[in-house]
Amino acid sequence: MSMNFSEFKRKLGAEPRNEDPEFLRARHSSPEFEEAAEAADRFEAKLERAAAVPLPEGLIDDILAFVEHSPERSARRNWWPMAMAASVLIAVGAAGLGWKMSHSWESVEEYLVDHYRHDGDKMVVMAAGSNANNVQAVLSKLDVSAAPALAAIVSVIKYCPTPDGKGVHMVLNTQNGPVTVIYMPHAKVTDGEMLAFDNVDAVLVDLQSGSAAIIGAGVKGVSELYTLIQTSIIPTSISS
């Protein structure tokens, strides 16, 4: 028994790319069916175009690099998911309200608060007991390198969004505890400006190439790193 028009339209609306022989036979069975199918094809083409989100540059490389250099991959620790459940998820959840759904931060300060609330605590937890061995590889893609004194104390490092494109988020293992550094290759900041939000303090650093924010618990801890950061993120053109 052939498919009636009502059933055909239901299938057309549910699975327009259906290649079932019965469906295809019905499609060509009359001008009415054919016309409905052609209209559905046009709609589907627009729908597919609407859904086609552009891909970020270097997506696959970044996935592979993220997994390759994850501390979880080598250590396969069992403690951190529990730590996450206990503390970080709460922080992420609360922070989610403020995490921008677009990159239209009105200032570097607003971005830093937003970004740190998003995954600052999570990165600090991940950094515990870790030692990043991919510091230069990550920074080199942004045409900078780390001086040995900086590279030696980076626990974790990853790419992150900044107001002006891709940047780097790293956590340093210092004598004052973990300190976060956000490197922003194209953002302009007021050198030495201090910020305080939630339970952390931050200082902004103008660099030879771009800028950075040093974020951690306590003014002393972040201020002491000012000189190190200012002199240790070096444009590749100078270091080579």
């Binding site: 609407a50 997506l59 995490w99």
Partner: protein, 178 residues
């Protein structure tokens, strides 16, 4: 693909999964969380979990749905209970396409807004079909609902999008759609 026991073999298998499905996963993630940085984080976390569980993947043919399952769980675990739905359509920005006529561009913008405003029970199967290329059977398995229910949701999702175009008074080609 044979299971390889060496570290190099494991890495090769993993690289293949990243190359084959990374873009689909990112696009899907982008639509469910609405922000490219979060989508990228979600995909990276998904692959990290996949790496740790790679030995459990015996059938490479099932890899895509396995990865989608991980991604959906990761999304639910990390964000769903804690954060309001990320449905800011302005964040799903697709660059202007110079090939498009103005009417077509308007329709596509309205469709993007419409997709983000669909209820999750309609949006998710629609995105699985349009972005991931899933059949109704595959969606049924992924969402653990009947094929008939999937077909109904897909039909209604498209009807709501068409209705939005009609309601917003798009002229031109869109008239041919109904």
């Amino acid at each position: 693909m044979p299971v390889m026991n060496t570290e190099a073999g494991r890495q090769a298998k993993f690289n293949q999964l990243a190359q084959a499905y990374g873009t689909d996963l990112y696009r899907y993630a982008m639509w469910i969380c609405g922000n490219d940085a979060l989508a990228k984080d979600l995909v990276q976390e998904t692959y990290l979990r996949a790496w740790k569980a790679l030995d459990k993947l015996n059938d490479i043919g099932a890899a895509k749905s396995w990865l989608i399952t991980i991604l959906r769980r990761e999304y639910a675990r990390t964000f769903e209970r804690k954060v309001p739905k990320f449905t800011d359509v302005d964040s799903v920005v697709v660059p202007d396409d110079i090939e498009l006529e103005p009417d077509d561009r308007t329709e596509i913008e309205l469709l993007r807004q419409g997709i983000m405003k669909l209820a999750p029970k309609y949006r998710e199967p629609l995105l699985m079909q349009v972005v991931l290329g899933y059949s109704c059977e595959e969606i049924s398995k992924q969402l653990d609902i009947s094929k008939s229910a999937v077909m109904t949701q897909l039909f209604r999702a498209r009807e709501q999008l068409k209705q939005k175009l009609r309601k917003d008074g798009v002229t031109g080609n869109v008239h041919e759609l109904f």
